[in-house]
């Protein structure tokens, strides 16, 4: 666990934690203000579905922003996991100790994934807490949503770590962010394909979500974040933009788990074979 502590200290001293906390507090204040104002206006509507829709929309989009921040945090941390340590020579002193490369990599990438997942948990609780406090909001399944979001950052950390064994921090970061963007476009294509009833478009979107499952995991999480009343009353055509309208299949979740594990094992294999 020494490398975990060392990595946490590094994150703390690189101001990642401080900057993340400051921005998050600012974001939560803004969300609280926006939610309070928005919900008060919606609450005057006679149709109870209107206020449920307003609360769901604001909660889901708030967590969409959280997901976005957590993903970037995961990518930025993981894409510099290995290469800069080798280039600077910091790694050599540590690996000259009785510590296997696999253990070092597991502790380091595990710490990054843990930090990003912790951020997800704290922010999700805060957002859902604000929504619940103001509007009495209850999501379909906050636990499943948070688990899927944590899996999303794990996927990004595993991918970023693997690339950081082979590429510089900047190159690895650019590749992962580009893939993350591709997943986002793929998600929009899938939704657009469903709305417009174009199978080809939908199939491309599904294929992209298999190549990089980050956005599909978000869409799965976003379904569980909706209020049950709202989810029952809407379909994909009139759903929230960028959000999913159905629970993810067990097969897809299994694929995403295998995806993260696969990239991590590849990272380990590449790292063990590499000359330092």
């Amino acid at each position: 666990m020494i490398v975990v502590r060392l990595t946490l200290r590094e994150a703390a001293n690189r101001k990642v934690l401080l900057v993340g906390a400051v921005i998050s507090v600012a974001f939560l204040l803004l969300f609280w203000l926006g939610f309070a104002v928005g919900f008060n206006e919606a609450a005057t509507e006679p149709d109870p579905l209107e206020s449920a829709a307003a609360a769901t929309l604001m909660t889901v989009l708030g967590l969409y922003a959280v997901q976005f921040l957590a993903s970037f945090m995961a990518v930025l941390l993981a894409s510099g996991a290995v290469a800069p340590e080798i280039e600077s020579g910091r790694l050599h002193a540590v690996l000259a100790r009785p510590l296997s490369r696999t253990s070092w990599l597991a502790q380091r990438s595990g710490t990054f994934a843990g930090l990003a997942a912790m951020y997800i948990v704290v922010m999700s609780l805060a957002i859902l807490g604000i929504a619940s406090g103001i509007a009495g909001y209850g999501a379909i399944s906050p636990g499943r949503a948070v688990a899927l979001l944590a899996l999303e950052v794990a996927v990004l950390v595993a991918l970023g770590t693997a690339l950081s064994v082979r590429l510089s921090a900047i190159a690895a970061g650019v590749v992962v962010i580009a893939l993350y963007g591709a997943a986002w476009i793929g998600g929009i294509m899938e939704i657009a394909g469903a709305v417009l009833d174009k199978d080809g478009l939908e199939r491309i979107g599904v294929a992209v979500s298999l190549v990089i499952p980050s956005d599909a995991l978000w869409r799965g999480a976003s379904y569980y974040l909706q209020s049950p009343v709202y989810a029952a009353a809407t379909s994909v055509e009139d759903g929230i933009p960028f959000a999913g309208s159905a629970a993810p299949s067990g097969l897809f979740v299994a694929w995403a788990l295998a995806y993260a594990a696969g990239w991590w094992m590849l990272a380990d294999r590449w790292f063990r074979r590499r000359d330092l």
Partner: protein, 321 residues
């Protein structure tokens, strides 16, 4: 087998494992050979200098011993375990050539991390940390952040991590590259004190004077090959002998010419460059048996620099470099 290898053997006298035993090491990057059939043995308490010009393969050898570079061939053991096995590194201290320590920690925290990595019991850590800091001259600076250290202080901190917990083997890769002359002298003293407490040291350096002053044995590398190895005194013995006779006449001169080249003559003394370093006894008996009064026959010691330039320079010329 060189005397270094003989001295080393496969196990030490008390039956414990050799600090370093490496045979036939090979490594190539694409089609460039970096190590070609390198043998290296370091016995307990020995200080062995690994010499060679830049790019000779010194750092590659060190990294292969520590499992950081994968070999294409050969076998290497460190303290009796295969190089690359993390357990082999349990009692090894290492100062990398390219060293950097986390800028956000202070010196003592860096040592604390390393003390935990080598599994030093908590009760022994404060003493071991203070000991290491004192040995490298950082006693008053352990609480300062590494980010504020000069390059030389960072190198001292690296030395402190290398000697932390009294390892059986210390590997130093260019340990004085960032130090001033006083710092260099302190490192030489540190290496001597390591030897005195029975620690084996592998010293990678291209500073010949440094190696000459602290090493018992040297291995000279050039472009991945060992061009000379042995006890420092043996390696530094040259092919030059000074011969003083009662009378240096033509007959005596002819005998000397039979063993090599007469480089200079001063009265009855000649400086002879032998074709074969081992021919000194034969030369003596030839002179005596022919009735030349042999006053003195002195093999001349050369500096390590002369040896190095001869060995490395000659092969460089041969390659038209």
């Amino acid at each position: 087998m060189t005397s270094a290898e003989e001295a080393a053997g496969d196990v030490r006298g008390d039956g414990g494992p050799l600090p370093i035993s490496a045979t036939g090491l090979r490594k190539a990057y694409r089609n460039r050979t970096v190590l070609d059939d390198v043998d290296l043995h370091v016995g307990p308490g020995q200080v062995v200098g690994l010499l060679g010009p830049n790019g000779a393969g010194k750092t590659t050898i060190v990294k292969s011993l520590l499992g950081m570079v994968h070999l294409d061939g050969g076998t290497a053991t460190v303290l009796g375990r295969p190089a690359g096995d993390p357990a082999a590194r349990r009692a090894v201290g290492y100062l990398p050539e390219q060293f950097q320590y986390p800028a956000w920690l202070d010196g003592r925290q860096v040592l604390e991390v390393h003390a935990r990595l080598i599994g030093l019991p908590a009760a022994l850590r404060p003493g071991a940390l203070a000991d290491a800091l004192r040995l490298v001259g950082l006693a008053g600076r352990g609480g300062d952040r590494v980010g504020g250290y000069s390059k030389g202080m960072q190198q001292r901190l690296g030395l402190a991590t290398a000697v932390l917990g009294r390892p059986a083997l210390v590997i130093l890769d260019e340990p004085t590259s960032a130090l001033d002359p006083i710092g260099r002298r302190e490192v030489r003293d540190l290496i001597r004190s390591l030897r005195d407490r029975g620690t084996a040291v592998l010293l990678n350096s291209h500073l010949l004077g440094e190696v000459e002053q602290v090493c018992d044995h040297v291995v000279i590398l050039d472009r991945g090959r060992v061009v000379s190895s042995g006890a420092l005194a043996d390696v530094a013995v040259g092919a030059e002998v000074r011969v003083t006779l009662e009378r240096l006449d033509n007959a005596a001169h002819a005998i000397l010419e039979g063993f090599g080249r007469v480089a200079a003559v001063d009265g009855d003394t000649a400086l002879v460059v032998l074709d074969d370093v081992a021919a000194v006894p034969a030369l003596a008996s030839a002179l005596v048996s022919q009735g030349h009064g042999l006053q003195a026959l002195v093999p001349l010691q050369r500096s390590l620099e002369d040896v190095f330039v001869d060995l490395v320079g000659a092969s460089a010329e041969g390659e038209g470099r």
